[in-house]
């Protein structure tokens, strides 16, 4: 079920009413309702994959309990490896089997060896990367002795499958979200109003900005032979905002939706394009994933408590793996590698004082280099990405493809509105029209946003980009 679908517009109020109607009774009923609702939400897409979700989370529940009870280090390690192996095995099979099979065959062909390895017609289960990572973190934290396992299976299953963040995050840690399933909720008008306002801005980002920009981006990136360097530059800048608003918007809807039920999810995006460095960028972009990789990959590799060269290796590896997490394509690996390189170069330049630029120039530079990396993220293949990069570098000008002028004009408008709001939130955080103390201002803002969404949102059922990850 998509957040921007009518199905969800019916689903959410029903679940909301039922949830608060059974409030005050045993907590188990509320969790059971959330679990059932989450499975309906997920099964709406393809009910067959519910078994995968149940199996993956069920396994980590039982492994978590066994890990906690087990004193023998060898057996603990064995249990831990079972959990990791099954989770990563399922993720690897559903998401990466064809990619590795094709890459394997291509590598052998390069050396003159013909190898036949059949690819499979595999459906990628929606959100598998997200819920697998969330479930894995539970087992890892128990193995490390940082978390006590829960005995409440229903609460745990509800935690892994919690529908607001099931298919595209934020990737929550058990230590933050799981206790919330074990605490009684208290209905509050302010809480619900705050949740709805967060959702409203999320929908605005998604349907007014992201989906609008997607139309132009698709027209250019979907037909790379026909466009000039200037059009590629514009389409890439548009894509930078599209993916931010697509994923950032989704995260906000998830956050607001969870708030309606009294849950508090972590912030996932914090105005990333106002970053003055790549280190800062990754502290503002997809925060739940960045911190996941930091805690479960970068630090276990040694983090920065090693030699500089080893530290750079750790950084680079973390970003390459993060790239691969985003998709089974070399374009994502290169994208991750570029960001890993940015981090390394940034640290080297900082040592010799090359980065003492005015803040605004730093922001522009980071944005430009981020856009360069987005080319690889968005292009359908490495060949197309290289074609775009070459065209931009050798012929940066040329005529600008505007496509449908209406779409183009509304795209520019959408970006300007987003930047204005992000600028205000960044530098004047106390000023908020949506939360203004004068009730008329608040109401007028909400009504204007609703009118804008209905009038200029794109409602043709487009998928959230991050569903594929």
């Amino acid at each position: 079920m998509l957040f921007n679908s009518i199905d969800f517009a019916f689903f959410l109020p029903i679940v909301f009413c039922l949830f608060w109607m059974i409030n005050g009774k045993d907590l188990k009923y509320q969790n059971l309702l959330l679990l059932a609702s989450s499975y309906v939400f997920y099964g709406w897409w393809d009910w067959r994959f519910l078994s995968l979700l149940a199996f993956s989370s069920g396994l980590d529940f039982f492994v978590g309990s066994a890990l906690y009870k087990q004193q023998d280090e060898k057996k603990r390690k064995m249990l831990f490896l079972i959990s990791m192996g099954v989770n990563l095995g399922l993720l690897g099979f559903f998401k990466y089997y064809n990619f590795f099979a094709e890459s394997f065959v291509e590598a052998f062909s390069f050396f003159g060896q013909k190898t036949d390895l059949n690819t499979l017609n595999i459906i990628l289960p929606v959100g598998i990367s997200f819920y697998t990572f969330q479930s894995m973190s539970y087992a890892i934290d128990i193995y490390r002795g940082k978390l006590t396992p829960t005995k409440d299976l229903i609460a745990f299953l509800a935690f892994v499958s919690f529908f607001p963040q099931l298919v595209a995050g934020p990737i929550e840690r058990a230590s933050h979200l799981l206790p919330q399933f074990l605490t009684k909720k208290r209905f509050s008008y302010d809480m619900v109003a705050a949740g709805l306002k967060i959702m409203l801005w999320g929908f605005f980002m998604k349907v007014v900005v992201a989906d609008r920009l997607a139309l132009y981006v698709q027209a250019v990136y979907g037909n790379v032979d026909m466009h000039t360097g200037l059009s590629f530059i514009v389409a890439t800048i548009f894509f930078a905002f599209q993916i931010y608003c697509d994923f950032g918007g989704y995260s906000l809807i998830a956050l607001g939706c969870a708030r309606l039920f009294g849950f508090d999810l972590m912030e996932n995006f914090r105005r990333p394009y106002f970053s003055g460095s790549f280190r800062e960028f990754w502290g503002r972009w997809h925060i739940s994933l960045s911190t996941w990789f930091k805690d479960y990959l970068y630090i276990p590799l040694g983090g920065n408590r090693v030699s500089p060269s080893r530290n750079y290796f750790n950084l680079f590896t973390t970003f390459v793996v993060s790239g691969l997490w985003h998709g089974a394509n070399w374009t994502f690996v290169i994208w991750g590698g570029i960001h890993g390189s940015y981090q390394i170069l940034e640290r080297e330049f900082a040592k010799i004082g090359w980065l003492k630029l005015p803040k605004v120039l730093q922001v522009v530079l980071v944005f430009a280099l981020t856009c360069f990396a987005w080319i690889f993220f968005r292009a359908a293949s490495l060949h197309e990405a290289m074609h775009i990069v070459t065209t931009i570098l050798t012929h940066p000008g040329g005529s600008l493809y505007t496509g449908d002028l209406g779409i183009f004009a509304f795209s520019i408008m959408a970006i300007l509105m987003l930047l204005t709001v992000d600028y205000i939130n960044e530098y004047y955080p106390d000023f908020s029209l949506l939360n203004h103390q004068v009730v008329y201002v608040r109401f007028a803002t909400i009504v204007i946003m609703l009118i804008y969404i209905v009038s200029l949102g794109v409602f043709d059922g487009s998928q959230f980009i991050y569903f594929q990850f």
Partner: protein, 313 residues
């Protein structure tokens, strides 16, 4: 609740304003759509997508056949729009002749119902087009209770004719959208030969069959035309093969220009590889109508399609 009530009120108010802008536009795509659905009574109607709208000159058709003509083509459209236009027209009258422009790769993809969303502003006042628009999404009927939603994203084209006239063709052009200029790129493009055949999409095919059968039931003389593209020679495709079959089955003539070298190798006739410029459209329309004319004249003497012998060009 107060917010929702306020929104509903503004939605109605905004809708009234937008309806006014739609109904009083001096020209443009909404004026053309309104004319097609509510006013046109021409003998000859051209239905098609952008190539229908750009390649056919009603004045030439009128002068040649001595019948009135309206070009109901609209860019970016496909079979769902053709169906909606058909329903809109047949709900009021029966044209004598309909020229249906079909692209050589039409009927291969899933019908893009969402493109027909262009007609959403007419949903409430035209029940005959609702079945088509309802297929855009399962809750389209519900969404269209909002008047602002009906005009979603249309403002630029709704307001533009009030400031710049004639960009979608003047009213005197009778639906034709003349495209001035000449293509100045891809001139050295090698002639693209027959692409591999793609199976027809069953839904698109079914929609096409409905278009044909409804016109047939009403005794309309239907002409299928596949207009030319620059640099592409397509004599046969799944869609063309199916058009031939339909043409032979029902006696509706088919004219295939997509492999005609007097067009596909002449860049001076095009404004872009898929659309003829003014000179190209005039030459094409004269050429086509010269071929159609004998059929139209003979049909004046014969009332049944079955009595005539049709040739597939």
């Amino acid at each position: 609740m107060l917010v929702l009530a306020l929104f509903a009120g503004l939605d109605r108010l905004g809708g009234l304003l937008l309806d006014y802008l739609r109904d009083h536009a001096p020209d443009g795509r909404y004026q053309k759509a309104k004319y097609t659905l509510e006013e046109c009574t021409e003998d000859v109607v051209v239905i098609g997508s952008s190539r229908g709208e750009i390649n056919y000159v009603p004045r030439i058709i009128e002068d040649s056949l001595g019948m009135s003509c309206w070009n109901a083509g609209r860019g970016g459209q496909g079979m769902p729009f053709f169906r909606a236009v058909q329903e809109g027209i047949l709900a009021r009258y029966t044209p004598k002749v309909v020229i249906l422009n079909i692209d050589d790769n039409d009927l291969e993809g899933v019908p893009a119902y969402e493109h027909a969303g262009f007609l959403r502003p007419f949903y409430n006042t035209h029940p005959e087009i609702r079945p088509v628009l309802n297929k855009i999404s399962k809750f389209e009927w519900l969404l269209l209770q909002s008047r602002l939603y009906a005009y979603n994203s249309s403002y630029y084209y709704l307001i533009r004719p009030y400031f710049i006239g004639g960009l979608d063709g003047k009213t005197s052009d009778k639906g034709w959208k003349p495209r001035p200029g000449t293509m100045d790129y891809l001139l050295d493009k090698p002639l693209e030969q027959e692409p591999p055949k793609v199976p027809l999409n069953p839904e698109a095919k079914a929609q096409f069959d409905v278009v044909v059968s409804k016109f047939r039931e009403r005794g309309v003389q239907l002409y299928f035309v596949v207009s030319p593209n620059y640099g592409r020679s397509i004599a046969s495709s799944s869609a063309i093969d199916y058009l031939k079959k339909t043409s032979e089955a029902f006696g509706f003539p088919l004219f295939v220009y997509s492999s005609d070298t007097s067009y596909i190798t002449h860049p001076e006739l095009y404004v872009d590889p898929e659309h003829l410029n003014i000179d190209g459209a005039q030459k094409f329309t004269k050429d086509l109508i010269g071929k159609i004319k004998p059929y139209v004249q003979s049909s004046i003497q014969h009332t049944s399609h079955d009595e005539k012998v049709y040739k597939v060009y």
